[in-house]
Protein backbone atom coordinates (compact mmCIF):
# COMPACT_ATOMS: atom_id res chain seq x y z
CA UNK A 1 0.00 0.00 0.00
CA UNK A 2 2.83 2.40 0.83
CA UNK A 3 4.35 1.78 -2.59
CA UNK A 4 1.01 2.17 -4.34
CA UNK A 5 0.25 5.39 -2.47
CA UNK A 6 3.69 6.82 -3.21
CA UNK A 7 3.53 5.90 -6.88
CA UNK A 8 0.11 7.43 -7.38
CA UNK A 9 1.03 10.54 -5.40
CA UNK A 10 4.02 10.97 -7.67
CA UNK A 11 1.67 11.40 -10.60
CA UNK A 12 -0.88 13.61 -8.87
CA UNK A 13 0.70 16.67 -10.38
CA UNK A 14 2.06 15.30 -13.60
CA UNK A 15 3.40 18.56 -14.94
CA UNK A 16 5.43 19.22 -11.82
CA UNK A 17 6.75 15.65 -11.79
CA UNK A 18 7.76 15.93 -15.45
CA UNK A 19 9.54 19.24 -14.90
CA UNK A 20 11.43 17.90 -11.89
CA UNK A 21 12.35 14.73 -13.73
CA UNK A 22 13.47 16.71 -16.78
CA UNK A 23 15.89 18.74 -14.66
CA UNK A 24 17.30 15.53 -13.19
CA UNK A 25 17.55 13.88 -16.62
CA UNK A 26 19.43 16.86 -18.03
CA UNK A 27 21.81 17.08 -15.08
CA UNK A 28 22.52 13.35 -15.00
CA UNK A 29 23.11 13.32 -18.74
CA UNK A 30 25.49 16.25 -18.46
CA UNK A 31 27.25 14.74 -15.44
CA UNK A 32 27.75 11.40 -17.21
CA UNK A 33 29.08 13.05 -20.37
CA UNK A 34 31.47 15.20 -18.35
CA UNK A 35 32.65 12.31 -16.26
CA UNK A 36 33.00 10.09 -19.28
CA UNK A 37 35.12 12.52 -21.27
CA UNK A 38 37.20 13.46 -18.23
CA UNK A 39 37.86 9.85 -17.32
CA UNK A 40 38.45 8.95 -20.98
CA UNK A 41 41.09 11.65 -21.33
CA UNK A 42 42.70 10.86 -17.97
CA UNK A 43 42.74 7.15 -18.68
CA UNK A 44 44.38 7.70 -22.03
CA UNK A 45 46.84 10.12 -20.49
CA UNK A 46 47.66 7.66 -17.75
CA UNK A 47 47.97 4.80 -20.20
CA UNK A 48 50.11 6.85 -22.58
CA UNK A 49 52.50 8.08 -19.91
CA UNK A 50 52.71 4.75 -18.14
CA UNK A 51 53.24 2.92 -21.40
CA UNK A 52 56.05 5.27 -22.38
CA UNK A 53 58.37 3.99 -19.76
CA UNK A 54 57.38 2.73 -16.32
CA UNK A 55 54.65 0.22 -17.10
CA UNK A 56 51.73 -0.27 -14.70
CA UNK A 57 53.66 -2.16 -12.03
CA UNK A 58 57.34 -2.85 -11.36
CA UNK A 59 59.00 -5.37 -9.08
CA UNK A 60 62.44 -4.54 -7.67
CA UNK A 61 64.80 -5.82 -5.09
CA UNK A 62 63.59 -4.26 -1.83
CA UNK A 63 65.13 -0.82 -1.42
CA UNK A 64 65.94 -0.24 -5.08
CA UNK A 65 63.38 2.54 -5.55
CA UNK A 66 64.84 4.44 -2.60
CA UNK A 67 68.42 4.01 -3.82
CA UNK A 68 68.51 3.37 -7.54
CA UNK A 69 72.01 1.91 -8.00
CA UNK A 70 73.24 -1.18 -9.77
CA UNK A 71 74.27 -2.58 -6.39
CA UNK A 72 70.56 -2.96 -5.70
CA UNK A 73 69.93 -5.22 -8.66
CA UNK A 74 68.34 -8.63 -8.32
CA UNK A 75 69.33 -11.93 -9.84
CA UNK A 76 66.93 -13.69 -12.18
CA UNK A 77 64.63 -15.75 -9.96
CA UNK A 78 62.27 -18.19 -11.64
CA UNK A 79 60.25 -18.59 -8.42
CA UNK A 80 59.41 -14.89 -8.44
CA UNK A 81 58.72 -14.95 -12.16
CA UNK A 82 56.31 -17.86 -11.72
CA UNK A 83 54.58 -16.17 -8.76
CA UNK A 84 54.05 -12.99 -10.79
CA UNK A 85 52.82 -14.81 -13.88
CA UNK A 86 50.48 -16.91 -11.76
CA UNK A 87 48.41 -13.79 -10.97
CA UNK A 88 45.35 -13.75 -13.21
CA UNK A 89 45.73 -10.06 -14.09
CA UNK A 90 49.38 -10.29 -15.10
CA UNK A 91 49.84 -10.84 -18.83
CA UNK A 92 53.61 -10.63 -19.12
CA UNK A 93 56.74 -9.94 -17.07
CA UNK A 94 59.59 -8.10 -18.75
CA UNK A 95 63.09 -7.70 -17.29
CA UNK A 96 65.16 -4.50 -17.36
CA UNK A 97 68.59 -3.41 -16.27
CA UNK A 98 69.13 0.33 -16.20
CA UNK A 99 71.58 2.90 -14.99
CA UNK A 100 72.87 6.33 -15.84
CA UNK A 101 76.00 6.54 -18.03
CA UNK A 102 77.80 9.10 -20.06
CA UNK A 103 76.91 8.88 -23.76
CA UNK A 104 79.55 10.26 -26.06
CA UNK A 105 80.27 10.90 -29.70
CA UNK A 106 83.29 12.82 -30.82
CA UNK A 107 83.57 15.82 -28.54
CA UNK A 108 79.97 15.67 -27.37
CA UNK A 109 78.91 13.94 -24.18
CA UNK A 110 75.65 13.72 -22.28
CA UNK A 111 74.38 11.94 -19.18
CA UNK A 112 71.90 9.32 -20.38
CA UNK A 113 69.67 6.60 -19.08
CA UNK A 114 70.91 3.30 -20.45
CA UNK A 115 68.25 0.61 -20.37
CA UNK A 116 68.78 -3.07 -21.09
CA UNK A 117 65.49 -4.50 -22.38
CA UNK A 118 64.04 -7.75 -23.62
CA UNK A 119 63.16 -6.40 -27.09
CA UNK A 120 60.80 -9.23 -27.98
CA UNK A 121 58.64 -8.46 -24.88
CA UNK A 122 59.29 -4.79 -24.11
CA UNK A 123 56.70 -3.59 -26.60
CA UNK A 124 54.02 -5.31 -24.50
CA UNK A 125 54.57 -2.90 -21.62
CA UNK A 126 55.74 0.29 -23.27
CA UNK A 127 54.90 0.13 -26.99
CA UNK A 128 58.55 0.99 -27.64
CA UNK A 129 58.46 -0.55 -31.12
CA UNK A 130 55.88 2.04 -32.18
CA UNK A 131 58.19 4.88 -31.24
CA UNK A 132 60.87 3.98 -33.77
CA UNK A 133 61.18 6.84 -36.28
CA UNK A 134 64.16 5.57 -38.26
CA UNK A 135 66.18 2.36 -38.46
CA UNK A 136 64.91 -0.99 -37.19
CA UNK A 137 63.79 -2.13 -33.76
CA UNK A 138 66.53 -4.11 -31.95
CA UNK A 139 66.49 -7.88 -31.38
CA UNK A 140 67.64 -9.74 -28.29
CA UNK A 141 70.87 -10.90 -29.96
CA UNK A 142 71.69 -7.54 -31.51
CA UNK A 143 74.86 -5.75 -30.53
CA UNK A 144 73.46 -2.38 -31.53
CA UNK A 145 71.42 0.20 -29.60
CA UNK A 146 68.40 2.48 -30.06
CA UNK A 147 68.66 6.06 -28.87
CA UNK A 148 66.13 8.79 -28.47
CA UNK A 149 65.83 11.42 -31.16
CA UNK A 150 66.83 14.33 -28.91
CA UNK A 151 69.95 12.61 -27.71
CA UNK A 152 70.91 11.74 -31.29
CA UNK A 153 70.51 15.38 -32.29
CA UNK A 154 72.62 16.56 -29.36
CA UNK A 155 75.39 14.06 -30.08
CA UNK A 156 75.07 14.68 -33.86
CA UNK A 157 74.44 10.99 -34.49
CA UNK A 158 72.25 9.07 -36.91
CA UNK A 159 71.33 5.46 -37.60
CA UNK A 160 74.51 3.52 -38.46
CA UNK A 161 76.79 5.80 -36.41
CA UNK A 162 78.59 4.60 -33.28
CA UNK A 163 77.69 5.57 -29.74
CA UNK A 164 80.18 5.38 -26.88
CA UNK A 165 78.95 4.64 -23.37
CA UNK A 166 81.10 5.20 -20.30
CA UNK A 167 80.18 4.71 -16.67
CA UNK A 168 80.22 2.51 -13.62
CA UNK A 169 78.92 -1.06 -13.49
CA UNK A 170 77.84 -3.54 -10.84
CA UNK A 171 79.89 -3.33 -7.60
CA UNK A 172 81.88 -0.39 -8.89
CA UNK A 173 83.49 -1.99 -11.94
CA UNK A 174 84.23 0.23 -14.90
CA UNK A 175 81.71 0.00 -17.70
CA UNK A 176 82.37 1.15 -21.24
CA UNK A 177 81.39 0.09 -24.73
CA UNK A 178 80.92 1.15 -28.36
CA UNK A 179 77.61 0.38 -30.05
CA UNK A 180 76.24 0.93 -33.51
CA UNK A 181 72.95 2.84 -33.60
CA UNK A 182 70.23 0.61 -35.08
CA UNK A 183 67.27 2.93 -34.59
CA UNK A 184 66.08 6.31 -33.35
CA UNK A 185 62.99 6.55 -31.15
CA UNK A 186 60.84 9.58 -30.45
CA UNK A 187 59.01 10.36 -27.21
CA UNK A 188 56.41 13.05 -26.68
CA UNK A 189 58.05 13.83 -23.35
CA UNK A 190 61.01 16.17 -24.00
CA UNK A 191 62.80 14.82 -20.93
CA UNK A 192 62.74 11.23 -22.19
CA UNK A 193 63.49 12.35 -25.70
CA UNK A 194 66.89 13.76 -24.81
CA UNK A 195 68.33 11.00 -22.63
CA UNK A 196 67.27 7.43 -23.53
CA UNK A 197 69.50 4.63 -24.77
CA UNK A 198 68.13 1.11 -25.26
CA UNK A 199 70.11 -2.07 -25.81
CA UNK A 200 69.32 -5.78 -25.48
CA UNK A 201 69.27 -7.00 -21.86
CA UNK A 202 72.14 -9.42 -22.35
CA UNK A 203 74.31 -6.65 -23.82
CA UNK A 204 73.46 -4.39 -20.90
CA UNK A 205 74.30 -7.12 -18.36
CA UNK A 206 77.64 -7.59 -20.07
CA UNK A 207 78.27 -3.82 -20.18
CA UNK A 208 77.51 -3.37 -16.47
CA UNK A 209 79.24 -6.59 -15.42
CA UNK A 210 75.96 -7.74 -13.94
CA UNK A 211 75.56 -11.23 -15.35
CA UNK A 212 71.96 -12.44 -15.11
CA UNK A 213 70.93 -9.45 -13.00
CA UNK A 214 68.13 -6.92 -13.43
CA UNK A 215 67.02 -3.67 -11.80
CA UNK A 216 63.34 -4.19 -12.48
CA UNK A 217 60.66 -6.55 -13.66
CA UNK A 218 58.03 -4.55 -15.56
CA UNK A 219 54.54 -6.05 -15.56
CA UNK A 220 51.91 -5.95 -18.25
CA UNK A 221 48.52 -6.18 -16.57
CA UNK A 222 45.14 -6.50 -18.24
CA UNK A 223 43.60 -3.31 -16.85
CA UNK A 224 45.62 -0.35 -15.70
CA UNK A 225 42.70 0.81 -13.53
CA UNK A 226 43.21 -2.34 -11.53
CA UNK A 227 46.76 -1.43 -10.59
CA UNK A 228 46.15 -0.92 -6.86
CA UNK A 229 44.40 -4.26 -6.41
CA UNK A 230 46.98 -6.17 -8.45
CA UNK A 231 49.80 -4.41 -6.63
CA UNK A 232 48.43 -5.53 -3.25
CA UNK A 233 47.93 -9.09 -4.48
CA UNK A 234 51.44 -9.33 -5.90
CA UNK A 235 53.07 -7.95 -2.79
CA UNK A 236 51.63 -10.94 -0.97
CA UNK A 237 52.67 -13.32 -3.74
CA UNK A 238 56.38 -12.43 -3.64
CA UNK A 239 58.58 -12.63 -0.59
CA UNK A 240 59.92 -9.77 1.51
CA UNK A 241 63.13 -9.46 -0.51
CA UNK A 242 61.15 -7.71 -3.24
CA UNK A 243 59.12 -4.52 -3.52
CA UNK A 244 56.05 -4.23 -5.76
CA UNK A 245 55.30 -0.67 -6.89
CA UNK A 246 52.40 0.59 -8.96
CA UNK A 247 52.58 3.51 -11.37
CA UNK A 248 51.20 5.87 -8.73
CA UNK A 249 54.38 5.37 -6.71
CA UNK A 250 56.60 5.16 -9.76
CA UNK A 251 55.16 8.39 -11.21
CA UNK A 252 53.78 10.45 -8.33
CA UNK A 253 53.64 13.58 -10.48
CA UNK A 254 51.28 11.95 -12.96
CA UNK A 255 49.16 10.61 -10.14
CA UNK A 256 48.86 14.10 -8.66
CA UNK A 257 47.89 15.60 -12.00
CA UNK A 258 45.15 12.97 -12.45
CA UNK A 259 43.84 13.40 -8.92
CA UNK A 260 43.87 17.17 -9.38
CA UNK A 261 41.84 16.85 -12.57
CA UNK A 262 39.36 14.57 -10.80
CA UNK A 263 39.04 16.98 -7.89
CA UNK A 264 38.31 19.78 -10.35
CA UNK A 265 35.62 17.62 -11.89
CA UNK A 266 34.13 16.88 -8.48
CA UNK A 267 33.79 20.61 -7.79
CA UNK A 268 32.02 21.14 -11.10
CA UNK A 269 29.70 18.20 -10.47
CA UNK A 270 29.05 19.48 -6.97
CA UNK A 271 27.78 22.77 -8.39
CA UNK A 272 25.68 20.87 -10.94
CA UNK A 273 24.16 18.65 -8.28
CA UNK A 274 23.56 21.61 -6.04
CA UNK A 275 21.35 23.00 -8.80
CA UNK A 276 19.54 19.66 -9.09
CA UNK A 277 19.12 19.58 -5.34
CA UNK A 278 17.37 22.95 -5.40
CA UNK A 279 15.09 21.71 -8.19
CA UNK A 280 14.15 18.60 -6.26
CA UNK A 281 13.78 20.57 -3.06
CA UNK A 282 11.30 22.91 -4.72
CA UNK A 283 9.13 19.93 -5.56
CA UNK A 284 9.57 18.37 -2.12
CA UNK A 285 8.65 21.67 -0.50
CA UNK A 286 5.49 22.04 -2.56
CA UNK A 287 4.51 18.40 -2.13
CA UNK A 288 4.93 18.68 1.62
CA UNK A 289 3.35 22.04 2.31
CA UNK A 290 0.32 21.65 0.08
CA UNK A 291 -0.56 18.30 1.68
CA UNK A 292 -0.49 19.27 5.34
CA UNK A 293 -4.25 18.87 5.58
CA UNK A 294 -4.12 15.44 3.96
CA UNK A 295 -1.31 14.36 6.28
CA UNK A 296 -3.41 15.52 9.22
CA UNK A 297 -6.36 13.43 8.04
CA UNK A 298 -4.21 10.35 7.50
CA UNK A 299 -2.78 10.66 10.98
CA UNK A 300 -6.26 11.23 12.38
CA UNK A 301 -7.53 7.96 10.92
CA UNK A 302 -4.56 6.04 12.29
CA UNK A 303 -1.55 6.31 10.00
CA UNK A 304 1.64 6.55 12.02
CA UNK A 305 4.21 9.24 11.33
CA UNK A 306 6.86 6.73 10.31
CA UNK A 307 4.61 5.13 7.73
CA UNK A 308 3.48 8.49 6.41
CA UNK A 309 7.09 9.65 6.20
CA UNK A 310 7.95 6.47 4.30
CA UNK A 311 5.36 7.32 1.67
CA UNK A 312 6.75 10.82 1.17
CA UNK A 313 10.36 9.64 1.12
CA UNK A 314 9.41 6.97 -1.40
CA UNK A 315 7.73 9.57 -3.61
CA UNK A 316 10.92 11.55 -3.53
CA UNK A 317 13.02 8.54 -4.37
CA UNK A 318 10.70 7.54 -7.18
CA UNK A 319 10.86 10.90 -8.95
CA UNK A 320 14.63 11.12 -8.52
CA UNK A 321 15.31 7.54 -9.53
CA UNK A 322 13.11 7.80 -12.60
CA UNK A 323 14.92 10.98 -13.65
CA UNK A 324 18.33 9.49 -12.98
CA UNK A 325 17.44 6.28 -14.79
CA UNK A 326 16.14 8.11 -17.82
CA UNK A 327 19.19 10.39 -17.89
CA UNK A 328 21.46 7.35 -17.68
CA UNK A 329 19.62 5.50 -20.44
CA UNK A 330 19.77 8.56 -22.70
CA UNK A 331 23.50 8.95 -22.03
CA UNK A 332 24.36 5.40 -23.11
CA UNK A 333 24.04 5.89 -26.90
CA UNK A 334 25.72 9.32 -26.72
CA UNK A 335 28.69 8.09 -24.70
CA UNK A 336 28.81 4.90 -26.78
CA UNK A 337 29.05 6.94 -29.98
CA UNK A 338 31.87 9.15 -28.72
CA UNK A 339 33.63 6.14 -27.23
CA UNK A 340 33.73 4.64 -30.70
CA UNK A 341 34.37 7.93 -32.49
CA UNK A 342 36.37 10.18 -30.14
CA UNK A 343 36.26 13.93 -30.75
CA UNK A 344 39.30 15.05 -32.72
CA UNK A 345 40.57 18.51 -31.87
CA UNK A 346 41.39 20.58 -34.91
CA UNK A 347 43.10 23.84 -35.80
CA UNK A 348 45.42 25.78 -33.53
CA UNK A 349 44.28 23.98 -30.42
CA UNK A 350 45.42 20.72 -31.94
CA UNK A 351 48.89 22.13 -32.52
CA UNK A 352 49.01 23.42 -28.95
CA UNK A 353 48.07 20.02 -27.61
CA UNK A 354 50.68 18.28 -29.73
CA UNK A 355 53.32 20.83 -28.79
CA UNK A 356 52.90 19.98 -25.12
CA UNK A 357 52.93 16.25 -25.80
CA UNK A 358 49.18 15.69 -25.34
CA UNK A 359 47.03 13.69 -27.68
CA UNK A 360 44.67 16.10 -29.47
CA UNK A 361 41.66 13.84 -28.96
CA UNK A 362 38.79 13.80 -26.49
CA UNK A 363 38.32 10.18 -25.53
CA UNK A 364 35.23 8.96 -23.68
CA UNK A 365 35.21 6.28 -21.03
CA UNK A 366 32.51 3.63 -20.65
CA UNK A 367 33.49 2.46 -17.17
CA UNK A 368 30.24 1.23 -15.55
CA UNK A 369 30.71 3.34 -12.40
CA UNK A 370 30.45 6.52 -14.46
CA UNK A 371 26.84 5.59 -15.19
CA UNK A 372 25.60 4.12 -11.94
CA UNK A 373 27.41 6.59 -9.70
CA UNK A 374 25.19 9.42 -11.00
CA UNK A 375 22.05 7.49 -10.08
CA UNK A 376 23.50 6.89 -6.62
CA UNK A 377 24.33 10.58 -6.19
CA UNK A 378 20.81 11.64 -7.21
CA UNK A 379 19.36 9.03 -4.87
CA UNK A 380 21.49 10.34 -2.03
CA UNK A 381 20.32 13.90 -2.78
CA UNK A 382 16.72 12.69 -2.69
CA UNK A 383 17.30 10.96 0.63
CA UNK A 384 18.97 13.99 2.15
CA UNK A 385 16.16 16.27 0.95
CA UNK A 386 13.64 13.84 2.41
CA UNK A 387 14.72 15.07 5.81
CA UNK A 388 12.49 18.08 5.29
CA UNK A 389 9.13 16.28 4.88
CA UNK A 390 10.11 13.74 7.54
CA UNK A 391 10.84 16.61 9.91
CA UNK A 392 7.55 18.33 9.04
CA UNK A 393 5.56 15.12 9.52
CA UNK A 394 7.36 14.46 12.78
CA UNK A 395 6.14 17.79 14.14
CA UNK A 396 2.71 17.67 12.56
CA UNK A 397 -0.32 17.98 14.83
CA UNK A 398 -3.35 16.52 13.06
CA UNK A 399 -5.80 19.08 14.44
CA UNK A 400 -3.65 22.05 13.54
CA UNK A 401 -2.85 20.61 10.11
CA UNK A 402 -6.55 20.12 9.35
CA UNK A 403 -7.49 23.51 10.76
CA UNK A 404 -4.74 25.45 8.92
Amino acid sequence: MIFKLAWRNTWRNRRRTYITMASIVFAVLLAILLNSVKEGILFRMQENVVSVYTGAIQVHKKGYWEEQTLDNTMAHDSTVMNALLAHTSVQEVVGRLESFMLAASGTYTKASMVVGIEPEKEHLVTSLDKKVISGTYIHKDDEGVMISEGLAEYLKLAVGDTLVLIGQGYRGVSAAGKYPIKALVRFASPELNRRMVYLPLRQAQYLFGAEDRMTALVLDIDNINDTDRVERGLQQAVDARYEVLGWKTLMPGLHQVIEGERAENVIFLFVLYLLIAFGIFGTVLMMTLERQYEFGVLMAIGMKRLRLSSVVVLENIMISTLGALLGTILSIPVVGYFYKFPIQITGELRETYEKFGFEPTFYFSIEPWIFYSQAIVVLCIALVLSVFPVFKIGRLEPVRAMRD
Partner: protein
Amino acid sequence: MEGHKDRVIRTEGLFKVYDDGAVSLKAVNDVSLSIEKGEFTALVGPSGSGKTTLLNLIGGLDTPTAGKVWVHEKDISGLKKNQLIDFRLYNIGFVFQAYNLVPVLTARENIEFVMLLQKVGKEERNRRVDQLLGEIGLQDKAGKRPAELSGGQQQRVAVARALASKPQFVLADEPTANLDSKTAENLLDMMAKLNMDEGMTFLFSTHDQRVIDRAKRVITLVDGSIVSDVTREKTTIEA
Protein backbone atom coordinates in the same frame (compact mmCIF):
# COMPACT_ATOMS: atom_id res chain seq x y z
CA MET B 1 -18.39 3.98 37.52
CA GLU B 2 -16.92 0.53 37.10
CA GLY B 3 -20.49 -0.77 36.74
CA HIS B 4 -21.09 0.99 33.37
CA LYS B 5 -20.17 -1.84 31.05
CA ASP B 6 -21.85 -0.16 28.07
CA ARG B 7 -20.31 3.21 28.58
CA VAL B 8 -18.21 4.05 25.54
CA ILE B 9 -17.15 7.62 26.23
CA ARG B 10 -16.79 9.55 29.44
CA THR B 11 -15.35 13.00 30.01
CA GLU B 12 -14.90 14.72 33.31
CA GLY B 13 -14.15 18.39 33.90
CA LEU B 14 -12.85 18.80 30.39
CA PHE B 15 -11.30 22.13 29.49
CA LYS B 16 -9.60 23.36 26.37
CA VAL B 17 -8.18 26.85 26.59
CA TYR B 18 -6.52 28.65 23.70
CA ASP B 19 -4.20 31.30 25.01
CA ASP B 20 -2.09 33.40 22.66
CA GLY B 21 -0.78 35.65 25.42
CA ALA B 22 -3.16 38.50 24.70
CA VAL B 23 -6.46 36.64 24.61
CA SER B 24 -7.53 33.53 26.47
CA LEU B 25 -10.42 31.54 25.01
CA LYS B 26 -12.17 28.63 26.68
CA ALA B 27 -13.22 26.53 23.69
CA VAL B 28 -14.39 23.73 25.98
CA ASN B 29 -15.40 24.72 29.47
CA ASP B 30 -15.81 22.09 32.17
CA VAL B 31 -17.56 19.46 30.07
CA SER B 32 -18.52 16.23 31.76
CA LEU B 33 -20.58 13.77 29.80
CA SER B 34 -20.95 10.11 29.16
CA ILE B 35 -22.11 8.25 26.08
CA GLU B 36 -23.39 4.70 26.12
CA LYS B 37 -22.98 2.05 23.46
CA GLY B 38 -25.47 2.37 20.61
CA GLU B 39 -26.24 6.03 21.15
CA PHE B 40 -26.94 8.27 18.18
CA THR B 41 -25.98 11.62 19.65
CA ALA B 42 -25.93 15.06 18.14
CA LEU B 43 -23.69 17.72 19.56
CA VAL B 44 -25.27 21.03 18.62
CA GLY B 45 -24.64 24.67 19.19
CA PRO B 46 -23.78 27.87 17.38
CA SER B 47 -20.53 28.34 15.51
CA GLY B 48 -17.64 28.68 17.91
CA SER B 49 -19.49 26.90 20.69
CA GLY B 50 -16.76 24.26 20.92
CA LYS B 51 -18.41 21.29 19.16
CA THR B 52 -15.47 20.39 16.95
CA THR B 53 -12.97 21.01 19.75
CA LEU B 54 -14.91 18.65 22.02
CA LEU B 55 -15.00 16.01 19.26
CA ASN B 56 -11.26 16.41 18.75
CA LEU B 57 -10.63 15.94 22.46
CA ILE B 58 -12.84 12.86 22.62
CA GLY B 59 -11.18 11.49 19.47
CA GLY B 60 -7.68 11.95 20.86
CA LEU B 61 -6.79 14.41 18.12
CA ASP B 62 -6.22 17.18 20.61
CA THR B 63 -5.14 17.22 24.23
CA PRO B 64 -7.25 18.86 26.93
CA THR B 65 -5.96 21.76 29.01
CA ALA B 66 -7.55 20.06 32.00
CA GLY B 67 -9.87 17.16 32.66
CA LYS B 68 -9.89 13.64 31.33
CA VAL B 69 -11.38 11.53 28.56
CA TRP B 70 -12.07 7.84 29.04
CA VAL B 71 -12.95 5.50 26.22
CA HIS B 72 -14.26 2.22 27.56
CA GLU B 73 -12.91 3.36 30.90
CA LYS B 74 -9.41 3.78 29.47
CA ASP B 75 -7.95 7.19 30.15
CA ILE B 76 -6.66 8.47 26.80
CA SER B 77 -5.57 11.88 28.09
CA GLY B 78 -2.20 10.55 29.14
CA LEU B 79 -1.36 8.64 25.95
CA LYS B 80 1.65 9.64 23.89
CA LYS B 81 1.32 10.82 20.29
CA ASN B 82 2.03 7.47 18.67
CA GLN B 83 -0.11 5.63 21.20
CA LEU B 84 -2.94 7.99 20.37
CA ILE B 85 -2.59 7.23 16.65
CA ASP B 86 -2.84 3.52 17.40
CA PHE B 87 -5.71 4.17 19.75
CA ARG B 88 -7.64 6.06 17.08
CA LEU B 89 -6.89 3.38 14.51
CA TYR B 90 -8.42 0.59 16.58
CA ASN B 91 -11.15 2.46 18.46
CA ILE B 92 -12.50 5.45 16.59
CA GLY B 93 -13.99 6.01 13.16
CA PHE B 94 -13.82 9.55 11.83
CA VAL B 95 -16.15 11.19 9.33
CA PHE B 96 -15.18 14.70 8.32
CA GLN B 97 -17.17 17.53 6.84
CA ALA B 98 -15.00 17.61 3.71
CA TYR B 99 -15.03 13.79 3.28
CA ASN B 100 -11.23 13.70 3.29
CA LEU B 101 -10.76 10.55 1.29
CA VAL B 102 -7.29 9.80 -0.02
CA PRO B 103 -7.52 11.28 -3.53
CA VAL B 104 -5.23 8.78 -5.22
CA LEU B 105 -7.05 5.70 -3.91
CA THR B 106 -10.27 4.25 -5.27
CA ALA B 107 -13.41 3.98 -3.15
CA ARG B 108 -12.57 0.35 -2.44
CA GLU B 109 -8.97 1.16 -1.52
CA ASN B 110 -10.04 4.03 0.73
CA ILE B 111 -12.26 1.67 2.70
CA GLU B 112 -9.55 -0.97 2.77
CA PHE B 113 -6.88 1.53 3.83
CA VAL B 114 -7.50 1.53 7.58
CA MET B 115 -7.63 -2.26 7.60
CA LEU B 116 -4.24 -2.31 5.93
CA LEU B 117 -2.97 -0.03 8.68
CA GLN B 118 -4.44 -2.52 11.15
CA LYS B 119 -2.67 -5.34 9.28
CA VAL B 120 -5.92 -7.23 8.69
CA GLY B 121 -5.49 -10.24 6.38
CA LYS B 122 -6.38 -9.93 2.71
CA GLU B 123 -9.33 -12.30 2.82
CA GLU B 124 -10.92 -10.54 5.77
CA ARG B 125 -10.28 -7.17 4.16
CA ASN B 126 -11.97 -8.15 0.95
CA ARG B 127 -14.93 -9.62 2.79
CA ARG B 128 -15.39 -6.52 4.91
CA VAL B 129 -14.92 -4.06 2.02
CA ASP B 130 -17.52 -5.97 -0.05
CA GLN B 131 -19.90 -5.92 2.90
CA LEU B 132 -19.42 -2.18 3.52
CA LEU B 133 -19.72 -1.32 -0.16
CA GLY B 134 -23.00 -3.22 -0.11
CA GLU B 135 -24.19 -1.35 2.96
CA ILE B 136 -23.43 2.04 1.46
CA GLY B 137 -24.80 0.96 -1.92
CA LEU B 138 -21.72 1.77 -3.94
CA GLN B 139 -20.60 -1.63 -5.23
CA ASP B 140 -20.64 -0.28 -8.78
CA LYS B 141 -18.41 2.65 -7.82
CA ALA B 142 -15.77 0.59 -6.06
CA GLY B 143 -13.10 1.33 -8.66
CA LYS B 144 -13.75 5.06 -8.83
CA ARG B 145 -11.46 7.62 -7.26
CA PRO B 146 -12.95 10.36 -5.03
CA ALA B 147 -12.81 12.94 -7.82
CA GLU B 148 -15.09 10.70 -9.87
CA LEU B 149 -17.70 10.44 -7.11
CA SER B 150 -20.37 12.94 -6.05
CA GLY B 151 -20.17 14.59 -2.62
CA GLY B 152 -22.77 12.24 -1.21
CA GLN B 153 -21.00 9.20 -2.58
CA GLN B 154 -17.70 10.39 -1.16
CA GLN B 155 -19.28 10.89 2.26
CA ARG B 156 -20.74 7.38 2.10
CA VAL B 157 -17.30 6.01 1.36
CA ALA B 158 -15.97 8.08 4.26
CA VAL B 159 -18.55 6.48 6.56
CA ALA B 160 -17.61 3.04 5.26
CA ARG B 161 -13.96 3.85 5.90
CA ALA B 162 -14.82 4.94 9.42
CA LEU B 163 -16.60 1.64 10.01
CA ALA B 164 -14.02 -0.56 8.30
CA SER B 165 -11.75 -0.59 11.32
CA LYS B 166 -14.63 -1.91 13.50
CA PRO B 167 -14.36 1.07 15.86
CA GLN B 168 -15.93 1.46 19.28
CA PHE B 169 -17.68 4.59 18.01
CA VAL B 170 -17.82 7.02 15.11
CA LEU B 171 -17.13 10.71 15.47
CA ALA B 172 -18.67 12.74 12.65
CA ASP B 173 -17.87 16.41 12.34
CA GLU B 174 -20.63 18.18 10.40
CA PRO B 175 -21.03 15.17 8.07
CA THR B 176 -23.92 16.67 6.10
CA ALA B 177 -22.67 20.24 5.86
CA ASN B 178 -21.55 19.94 2.24
CA LEU B 179 -24.42 17.78 1.02
CA ASP B 180 -27.73 18.67 -0.59
CA SER B 181 -30.94 17.71 1.22
CA LYS B 182 -31.63 14.45 -0.53
CA THR B 183 -28.04 13.23 -0.26
CA ALA B 184 -27.90 14.26 3.38
CA GLU B 185 -31.11 12.35 4.11
CA ASN B 186 -29.73 9.26 2.39
CA LEU B 187 -26.53 9.45 4.38
CA LEU B 188 -28.41 9.87 7.63
CA ASP B 189 -30.59 6.91 6.76
CA MET B 190 -27.53 4.83 6.20
CA MET B 191 -25.93 5.83 9.49
CA ALA B 192 -29.17 5.37 11.40
CA LYS B 193 -29.50 1.89 9.92
CA LEU B 194 -25.97 1.03 10.96
CA ASN B 195 -26.77 2.36 14.42
CA MET B 196 -29.88 0.25 14.71
CA ASP B 197 -28.65 -2.91 12.98
CA GLU B 198 -25.12 -3.07 14.32
CA GLY B 199 -25.47 -0.95 17.44
CA MET B 200 -22.73 1.35 16.24
CA THR B 201 -22.32 4.43 18.45
CA PHE B 202 -22.37 7.77 16.61
CA LEU B 203 -21.48 11.18 17.95
CA PHE B 204 -22.10 14.06 15.54
CA SER B 205 -21.28 17.69 15.73
CA THR B 206 -23.83 19.48 13.61
CA HIS B 207 -25.85 22.54 12.77
CA ASP B 208 -28.08 20.52 10.53
CA GLN B 209 -31.66 20.26 11.77
CA ARG B 210 -32.12 17.00 9.87
CA VAL B 211 -29.37 15.40 11.89
CA ILE B 212 -30.72 16.87 15.09
CA ASP B 213 -34.19 15.52 14.28
CA ARG B 214 -32.81 12.02 13.85
CA ALA B 215 -30.65 11.96 16.98
CA LYS B 216 -31.64 9.88 20.01
CA ARG B 217 -29.85 12.37 22.19
CA VAL B 218 -29.06 16.03 21.65
CA ILE B 219 -26.36 17.79 23.66
CA THR B 220 -26.28 21.55 23.27
CA LEU B 221 -23.08 23.47 23.76
CA VAL B 222 -22.83 27.23 24.24
CA ASP B 223 -19.48 28.92 24.79
CA GLY B 224 -17.87 25.56 25.42
CA SER B 225 -20.30 24.46 28.13
CA ILE B 226 -23.18 22.00 28.00
CA VAL B 227 -26.42 23.92 28.43
CA SER B 228 -28.82 21.07 27.71
CA ASP B 229 -28.71 17.30 27.27
CA VAL B 230 -31.95 15.75 25.98
CA THR B 231 -32.52 12.04 25.35
CA ARG B 232 -35.33 10.91 23.05
CA GLU B 233 -37.08 7.60 22.42
CA LYS B 234 -35.52 6.39 19.17
CA THR B 235 -34.12 7.47 15.88
CA THR B 236 -35.95 7.02 12.59
CA ILE B 237 -35.10 5.95 9.07
CA GLU B 238 -36.89 7.93 6.38
CA ALA B 239 -38.91 5.92 3.93
